[in-house]
Amino acid sequence: MSNLELSRKTIETATRKPWQTFLIALPMLLFSLMMLTGGNGLGEDPRELIALLITYVFVNTIFILMVHTGKIDKYRSILFITYAVCFVLWFIPNLIEARGSMNYTSEDIIQGKIPFCHMVTPMILIPAVLKRMIIFPGSLMEGFASIGGMLIIWLGASLALGRGFCSWGCFYGGLEDGFSRLKKKPVLKKINPKWRYLPYAVLLGVVLTSMATLSPTYCVWLCPFKAVTEFEKVTSVLVLIQTIIFASLFVGLVIVLPLLTKKRTQCSFLCPMGAFQSFTNKIDPFEIRIDREKCSNCKVCINVCPTFSMDEASLAEGKANLSCTKCGKCIDRCPKKAISLGVKGTSPKCGTSGGVRLIFLYPAYMFLVTFGGGMIQDAVNRVLLLLSTGKFIQ
């Protein structure tokens, strides 16, 4: 083993000294404070201050542990799952306060009052390019979750993280990630890997049907996450059928199958946004690399990958498939430390994987903290409200 390899192995396996960890995490401590306060300084409401403090300590403890131990997914998943749960605890009460229920009406649609969600992105792009028309009943700039603001977030995520968005930004992903971790061993072990092409078919289908109908067909017919956000009030048989479909998909793909397979089945078998985001893995600078010399072909990475992004072919090629969400689970679990984060097009000997890991962790974690931090704060604030006044909704 050469000196270079030895030093890389040392960086990958040993935990850092506390002062090293502190210095590395210091910029995150400062930036996360700036992002969580919105740059507006501290508020005066004591409950909001406590919620901010809890969120700040929580997110930075996770980051410090990530930097100190070198484990990515082990700690990322804690924040990612918390983020998804807090998203639900934040979104639904806000909706009920604004509208009185989780239902939206035809009036909300024609007034453009539907919050934009990143899942719609692949469906709106072709009409936007051809006709400058956004086929979604939201607001371009004003209000909550405006289309312009969300498109910029999607662009930023795509440039910096590619499909890493699905493990570091998507506020739905943590739900099935959470359910997929509840059982120790999978009940359903043999899943035909061809199923992982299904989201691409769904993507093609919803893009074409959205163009034909000028409405986001995935949102109208399939999106399982309407179960935890908002859905049209059942006023007709058609809407009833749509409601049964999305509720069934939520129970099946977000709860039951992740429990049985320990995989993110909605992301792997249905999500058109995930399929679309896979293509952005071509433009972001990071990739998951497999050192074929170190690899013992134990296939742990294939078994643990939540999105079927590792297979025999990817092991032979020395990198993860296009659908990789850069969750870091394979890196954490590889017994030979043969898997690492790398910068595309550079030699594995150029720089250390510990250094590249930090270059990736900073933007990825910042994205997660900024996108999710506000939601976590609001959810904590609501829990504190519940504890102090007995009310969850104001």
């Binding site: 024609i110 936007a128 051809l130 607001s139 662009l155 000028l214 097009g345």
Partner: protein, 154 residues
């Protein structure tokens, strides 16, 4: 050359962090620029299309939208025209009866009798292009309807 390529790729990787910061810190600014540069607009199938006529009826205003037949490549065979009623005072009259010339050709195309208390409307088509009526929408203290149309040009 390979060395320069590697440096450029590392620079691109280092840029990921400022990109994420700029995404969130300058979100409003970038979003405004994106909308201004691309000229994006919400689909008229959702908004009802641009308002082309305002008719003052004393107690209320009629806002007539342009007919919507927009398609991705060609216009569609069927569409609609949206008519809004807005109260100039606090509430709309209980019963509204209006005749509308949606294509501004000087001939009335349909007549609507709107019951603002029951949120129901009756349509009398005065032109063969008028095919029906969607439900009544309650928009604050105003109301809107979408009258279904056949595209004359198809």
């Amino acid at each position: 050359m390979k060395y320069i390529g590697s440096i450029l790729r590392y620079l691109w990787a280092l840029l990921a962090f400022p990109i994420v910061l700029a995404t969130f810190i300058g979100n409003g600014y970038w979003a405004e620029k994106l909308i201004a540069i691309t000229g994006l607009e919400i689909s008229p199938w959702d908004t009802g299309g641009e308002i082309v006529q305002r008719i003052d009826q004393g107690h209320y205003l009629i806002l007539l939208h342009r007919p919507v037949f927009d398609g991705i490549i060609w216009e569609r065979k069927n569409g609609f025209v949206q008519v809004d009623w807005k109260a100039t005072g606090e509430v709309l009259p209980a019963i509204i009866n209006d005749e509308i010339d949606y294509d501004c050709d000087g001939t009335k195309d349909f007549q609507i009798r709107l019951d603002t208390e029951k949120n129901k409307a009756d349509l009398i088509a005065l032109s063969p292009d008028v095919t029906g009526l969607e439900r009544v929408y309650k928009l604050g203290n105003g109301r809107a309807v979408r009258v279904l149309l056949k595209n004359k040009r198809k």
